[in-house]
């Protein structure tokens, strides 16, 4: 079986007749509506809650900064996932790459305290990238040469990555005097400079945006990108046109893993400043949603990442002022995800109703 990636992943059908920008926005609006239903169902004033959420996420300088901080890792994992999807590889292993990348960065950060900032950061970023890519290597080769579904291998290797880093931090690099498993702090000069003091927002965001630009450039301006796209869209045409499917597949998977490694690495260098066992709330999986929501389109990915960033940061912060429990935020976010990809335009009666209204 060659075509492992489920059909919808190859771009997905163009929805409705909405113009580009609106087309990317529509799902989020629909989703918010659906979330409102849930809130009312649990006897809450949806508008009030959304208001508080928005305020907690965007209500001021620090809030916005923290939201952007929460957006950063998802932006990376979103790009990482989209890179693979575009080439028809359904890499669900970004989470794994993220963990090993994070560990590699942290290890560099606390192992070479004598290096000056710039080279130390560069080394950390390099090793994070290598670790992340290495984690995707086996699934890539297995898919390319043995036609082994990358879905299973990457999914399984996620668990392995989490356990492996847990082992490393517990048995070899444990910080003294704390109750949970975490590595020593990275050297101060290894921290990415903060963009806004007092917030978690670091230069990682800029790197993420830079990467996004690179992603756009790759797929709309480079022959390599064209090849990868062609492989994902029309493997047989690509093959007959002289594209080496194996090479493309491996390149895409490695690129995906590499960016995944950065997702973790920069989270460590920019925010956590050490490796913490099981630190990721599933950035990698959110990345899948982001890539699909954004239809692998750069702006779509950015919108998707912001969307989840707002929910994460808002969902956490809102509890400082209101008593809305995180579980309800999760319900809302889950519903949002479901309906963000639904196309209510397909409901005849709704279209007619909208037409009349």
């Amino acid at each position: 079986m060659i075509e492992t990636a489920p059909a919808p992943l190859s771009g997905g059908p163009v929805r409705g007749r909405l113009p580009g920008a609106l087309r990317l926005l529509a799902p989020f609006l629909i989703a918010l509506g659906a979330g409102a239903v849930v809130l009312w169902a649990t006897g809450r004033d949806a508008f009030a809650v959304y208001g508080q959420l928005a305020d907690a996420a965007l209500g001021g300088g620090t809030q916005i900064a923290d939201t952007l901080a929460a957006t950063t890792p998802i932006l990376f994992t979103g790009i990482a996932t989209a890179l693979a999807f575009r080439a028809g590889a359904f890499n669900v292993g970004v989470e794994g790459s993220l963990y090993v990348g994070a560990f590699a960065a942290a290890w560099t950060g606390f192992s070479f305290p004598h290096l000056p900032g710039a080279p130390l950061l560069a080394l950390a970023a390099l090793l994070a990238a290598l670790a992340g890519a290495a984690w995707a290597l086996l699934p890539a080769l297995a898919r390319a040469w043995l036609d082994v579904s990358e879905v299973v291998t990457t999914l399984m290797l996620n668990y392995v990555a989490i356990l492996l880093t847990s082992y490393l931090v517990n048995d070899h690099f444990l910080a003294r005097g704390v109750a949970n498993s975490m590595s020593p702090m990275i050297a101060p000069q290894a921290r990415l400079p903060p963009l806004l003091p007092g917030s978690q927002l670091s230069a990682a965001l800029l790197l993420g945006l830079l990467l996004l630009a690179g992603y756009w450039f790759l797929f709309s301006r480079s022959t390599l990108g064209f090849e990868l796209r062609l492989v994902g869209l029309a493997p047989r045409l690509a093959r007959a046109s002289g594209v080496d499917l194996r090479r493309s597949l491996v390149i895409a998977m490695l690129a995906s893993g590499l960016v995944g490694g950065w997702a973790g690495g920069f989270q460590v260098l920019g925010v956590i400043h050490r490796f913490v066992d099981g630190f990721s709330p599933g950035y990698g999986f959110t990345g899948i949603a982001v890539a699909i929501l954004g239809r692998n389109h750069p702006l779509g990915i950015l919108a998707g990442a912001l969307f989840f960033g707002i929910l994460t940061s808002g969902g956490g912060m809102v509890q400082l002022v209101s008593s809305i429990p995180i579980d309800l935020v999760n319900v809302v976010q889950g519903t949002l995800m479901v309906f963000a990809v639904a196309d209510l335009g397909r409901l005849g009666w709704l279209r007619r109703w909208a037409g009349r209204a």
Partner: protein, 308 residues
């Protein structure tokens, strides 16, 4: 050693039952063209409903049935969003899982006044069945006998699924739908309806899987008790290419190696390394299968025509 092996196998049987059930449902679903990432959520719902109804009726059987029904219900709803509203099944599935966890996290304290674990009074677990003759078989006795009914159901579901897919018109139509929806529709098959049915079926089995967790393995509900088993099931039917036999094999391989890892823990090796075992086992077996397939293919392709 043999009785160590026996212990492992005996433990693996009920432990892998929930994965097996969910994976079989997922396989049928996948044959119909839907990759069901939402199994986790349906298992959780099943586990919950099983406990509630099981306690209310003080009958584990009714609890299990209710769980299946609930799973089917959630499955259908999920399916409608996918088939009728064209929602991407992956995102929708991930969303469903998130919503389910949140929902129970919200309900348990508010409605039941507990933080995570619910074990209502009068809750009776599934009985452990001793199969008269099987029991006596020397080595296999304890392995095959003395498990909860749903474990046996999970075994019976494998041939059942095979019959369903390959020996019923419904199965043929479903496989056609998954393989080439346009062609299937042209043949007059109501592909959307078929997909919905397959998702409902997957939901029902996932619901049973949940019940096996909350009434069979243990007798209580915990909001995290599915512990990623839905994703292992996903891996299983991807592993088996959605074919019943291979899918079941994957589920059992995982179960056996997990049970083994539980016993290997505490030795020289660090616990995390031992815990990797089942995941690595799945990957390794995939690679072996792939490598053999490739060797065969290449030998076939590259045997030169013998000169006359």
């Amino acid at each position: 050693m043999p009785d160590a092996l026996q212990a492992v196998l005996a433990a693996a049987a009920p432990a892998s039952a929930s994965i097996l059930l969910a994976a079989m449902g997922g396989a049928v679903n996948r044959q119909g063209g839907i990759v069901n990432v939402g199994l986790e959520a349906k298992m959780l719902v099943g586990a919950f409903v099983a406990v509630i109804c099981g306690a209310a009726t003080s009958s584990s059987a009714l609890g299990a049935l209710a769980a299946a029904a609930a799973g089917a219900l959630v499955g259908s709803a999920f399916s409608l969003v996918v088939t009728r509203l064209g929602a991407n099944e992956i995102v929708a599935g991930l969303g469903l899982n998130l919503a389910a966890v949140g929902l129970f996290g919200y309900l348990l304290p508010v409605v039941f006044g507990v933080s995570a674990t619910l074990s209502p009074p009068g809750l009776v677990g599934l009985p452990l069945l001793r199969i008269p003759l099987l029991d006596a078989v020397p080595f296999l006795g304890p392995v095959l006998s003395g498990h909860d009914p749903l474990t046996y159901v999970s075994w019976m579901v494998v041939p059942l699924t095979w019959l369903l897919l390959y020996r019923t018109t419904w199965g043929v139509s479903l496989r056609a739908t998954g393989a080439d929806e346009e062609a299937a529709r042209a043949a007059g098959i109501r592909t959307l309806l078929l997909r919905d049915l397959s998702t409902a079926w997957a939901g029902a089995l996932a619901g049973l899987a949940g019940a096996q967790l909350s009434l069979g393995l243990v007798q209580l509900f915990n909001k995290q008790m599915t512990g990623g088993r839905g994703f292992i099931a996903l891996a299983a039917f991807y592993f088996g290419d959605a074919r019943p036999g291979l899918t079941a094999l994957a589920a059992l391989v995982f179960g056996v190696f997990e049970a083994a890892s539980f016993r290997l823990q505490g030795g020289e090796l660090a616990p995390q390394l031992v815990q990797m075992l089942p995941y690595l086992a799945v990957v390794a077996s995939l690679l072996v299968v792939g490598a053999r397939r490739r060797r065969l293919r290449r030998r076939r392709e590259l045997t030169p025509e013998p000169g006359r």
